[in-house]
């Protein structure tokens, strides 16, 4: 479904991705791990279509289409979903309004009929309950006054409602306590499907205790330096990134891994 070939990219003239090569097939979950500054979030942002990055080489094919040639909203309507690391607030716009607009934009693009108010409401209420959130949040402004955990749960709620084909989760576990992590993982796992692929960008192994990946890749200084199965993540937890990068700064200090 997703073929990234020799992708290189810069921000403000500074190279961040220095040749990414990655293939993700439908039904697979890939974890992309790495130390700070390795380019993990940059990769997710570029795949989602964020402005501000200059692609200096390589290509990305998504479902046979040139992904980098598509504007962000088209990628979204074609099923690419990014769960943001720092979800933004939108005052005055209610969660339910945004959800409905997004869901119907996707449905229109797929040639489906838009959901009417009643159907939409019962569907979204069901998912809100599933994510163990208070129904009242639907009428609050998007992420306004939400705690970190609530924001992340809101991202997964949106993901569940949009049923993406390629889900990119950018450090979805950062800042979450165990309970929130469990609910978020429950949400992500409920979307596992042979037609769906996911890329989990994470710094820590902890998330992978709850969402078992099929493949784990280690990103360092803009390149994937090692790939393996889920046991690779466990090895990293024991040894730290320095084991692979050889970089002293990647040696974890006590308590670095939660």
């Amino acid at each position: 479904m997703l073929h990234i070939k020799d992708l290189t990219a810069e921000v403000d003239g500074k190279p961040i991705l220095k040749g990414i090569h990655l293939t993700v097939n439908a039904g697979e979950i890939h974890a992309v791990m790495g130390p700070n500054g390795s380019g993990k979030s940059t990769l997710a942002s570029i795949l989602a279509g964020r402005d501000g990055y200059e692609i200096t080489g390589g290509s990305v094919m998504y479902q046979g289409k040139d992904l980098l040639d598509m504007p962000a909203e088209d990628r979204a309507r074609d099923g690419v979903f990014l769960a943001f690391q720092y979800p933004v607030e939108i005052p005055g716009v209610s969660n339910i309004y945004l959800l409905k607009a997004a869901v119907n934009a996707r449905r229109r693009h797929q040639g489906l009929q838009e959901l009417d108010a009643m159907d939409f409401l019962s569907l979204v209420k069901e998912k809100v309950r599933f994510m163990e959130m208070d129904e009242k949040m639907l009428y609050r402004a998007v992420n306004e006054g939400f705690s970190g955990g609530e924001k992340k749960r809101n991202e997964i709620l949106q993901m569940i409602m949009l049923e993406p084909t390629l889900a990119l989760l950018d450090e979805t576990d950062s800042g979450l306590d165990i309970d929130a992590l469990k609910v978020v993982s429950k949400g992500v796992n409920s979307l596992r499907s042979p037609n769906r692929a996911m890329i989990l960008v994470t710094h820590y192994q902890r998330l992978l205790d709850y969402i078992t990946p099929d493949y784990v890749h280690v990103l360092s200084a803009g390149r994937i330096i090692k790939s393996g199965g889920p046991e690779l993540a466990l090895e990293l937890e024991r040894q730290g990134y320095a084991w692979l990068t050889g970089d002293q700064k990647d040696v974890p200090s006590k308590g670095a891994v939660q």
Binding site: A48, G49, R50, D51, G52, P71, A72, E73, A76, R77, F81, L82, F84, Y86, P87, V88, I90, P91, G92, V93, Y97, L98, A101, A102, A105, R106, H109, A141, Q158, L162
Partner: protein, 482 residues
């Protein structure tokens, strides 16, 4: 040049040879303002002597005034002699015969704004009886209203049918000497609406649908007077989302509201006058004096406005809170795009005891738009326990537009509570990317965020207007993204 125009030119060059009486018969009087023109206007309307005297006093006072220049708006000096001060309502016969003859761009705009099909024809000037039976609609409304004793008719009509009411209230809220444009309006006002709600009566419908159909004919110096007697309630809608063009560039209306004891007047405006071309040329100047007086205790007056049109908007709908426990409210969304300018706000004058005022102003600037919020909260020494809350927010879209705030707060009573909050914001890159990542186009994202920004104001609008106002905002923001 039309036949009528060349006839007029001929007449002018003959130095009014045929005199006053002939001019009286003409549909359009020659350009220029003089005492004779004021008399002509009054005579054409068959006005009583007292009203002519009132106009003349206003005109003579106007001659002593100079145009104000303190607002944060810039425009070439207006030549008050280069205007036509009276034109009879256009005959239906001159308009398009059907929607097929109407500019398709205009029809497209009506579509985007969600204007009901039958109203599009009327707004475009198609002969009414060919499309829609307006007579029966008008009659139904009038019957319903007269059943409960409500007077709702054109100002000109009211001068003849209810002169005692006009005499009693005209100029009592906006005196002729109030300002340059009020004086001008008082001398040459064309027509407008008059509404009187008797004691204890709640007006059974929004006074809008009927009015909108006739809005086109009220002219550039509109005069409106609404009086709600003790315990009465009325909700009045002015204007319309459809883009309105007019040959006359200056629109200087005066609106006076009087709310007696325990009465309530809700006045909502949606204005989309022609804003001019992309260089700002040819747009309408909307210089308006609007004021409401809470004359009785526990009276309430609310102004809600959505201003997206006009080249220049200059208005301060205000409330004078004379009655004890009276309440004044001002909710505003003003959009300036391309080369539009606006200097708008409100004045809340607290005089009675325990009065309360709320001001929520949302300004959106895009393109090269220039916007100023100018607000006055004045608490007199007598206004024990006065409370005001003012919230003034600006949203800047783009890097060439401007937003300014000029708050004036004058408090002479120590038990008063006055709060002022202000914010300036932009739509951040992060917000735009987030919306796009959820499948929204950049235009829809901006529209959604801007509507969210204006929510507090839109929820004060009567339902049908609120839906139209949201669409209008979307249409007005076209071209501001990217």
């Amino acid at each position: 040049m039309s036949e009528a125009q060349s006839t007029i030119d001929e007449m002018i060059s003959k130095d009014y040879e045929h005199g006053f009486e002939t001019l009286l018969e003409m549909d359009v009087i020659p350009r220029g303002l003089s005492e004779d023109v004021v008399r002509l206007i009054s005579a054409k309307k068959n006005e009583p002597e007292w009203l002519l005297d009132w106009r003349l006093a206003a005109y003579r006072h106007w001659l002593t005034l100079t145009p104000p220049e303190w607002a944060n708006v810039h425009y070439p000096a207006i030549d008050y002699q280069d205007m036509i001060y009276y034109a009879a309502p256009k005959s239906q016969k001159d308009g398009p015969k059907s929607l097929d003859e109407v500019d398709p761009e205009l029809l497209k705009t009506y579509e985007k704004l969600g204007i009901p099909l039958h109203e599009r024809a009327i707004l475009a000037g198609v002969a009414v009886d060919a499309v829609f039976d307006s007579v029966s609609v008008a009659t139904t409304f009038k019957d319903k209203l007269s059943e409960v004793g409500i007077v709702f008719c054109s100002f000109s009509e009211a001068v003849h049918t209810h002169p005692e009411l006009i005499k009693q209230y005209l100029g009592s809220v906006v005196p002729v000497g109030d300002n340059f444009y009020a004086a001008l309006n008082s001398a040459v006002f064309s027509d407008g609406s008059f509404c009187y709600i008797p004691p204890g009566v709640r007006c059974p419908m929004e006074l809008s649908t009927y009015f909108r159909i006739n809005a086109k004919n009220t002219g550039q110096f509109e005069r409106t007077l609404i009086v709600a007697d003790e315990g009465a309630y009325v909700s009045y809608l002015e204007g319309c989302t459809a883009p309105m063009r007019d040959e006359n560039q200056l629109h200087a209306a005066v609106v006076e509201l009087v709310a007696m004891k325990k009465a309530q007047i809700k006045y909502s405006t949606v204005q989309n006058w022609y804003p001019g071309d992309k260089d700002g040329k040819g747009g309408i100047y909307n210089f308006v004096t609007k004021r409401g007086e809470c004359r009785g205790d526990h009276a309430k007056i609310s102004w809600t406005q959505v201003e997206t049109g006009s080249a220049i908007t200059w208005k301060y709908p205000s409330v004078v809170l004379k009655g004890d426990h009276s309440v004044g409210e001002f909710y505003s969304v003003a959009l300036t795009n391309h080369r539009q300018q606006a200097d708008t706000g409100t004045k809340m004058i607290h005089i009675g005891r325990n009065t309360k005022s709320t001001v929520v102003s949302k300004g959106i600037s895009a393109g090269f738009g220039q916007q100023a919020y100018r607000g006055l909260v004045r608490v007199a020494k007598s206004a024990v326990g006065a409370r005001n809350y003012t919230q003034c927010d600006s949203l800047l879209l783009g890097d060439q537009c401007q937003a300014h705030t000029f708050p004036y707060i004058e408090v002479k009573q120590s038990t008063a509570t006055v709060e002022h909050e202000a914010s300036t914001s932009r739509i951040s890159e992060d917000q735009m990317f987030f919306c796009r990542q959820r499948g929204l186009s950049p235009e829809d994202a901006v529209s959604m965020i801007v509507n969210g920004f204006c929510k507090e104001v839109f929820k004060e609008l009567p339902m049908e207007f609120a839906v139209e106002a949201q669409k209008l905002l979307g249409v007005s923001l076209e071209g501001s993204v990217g």
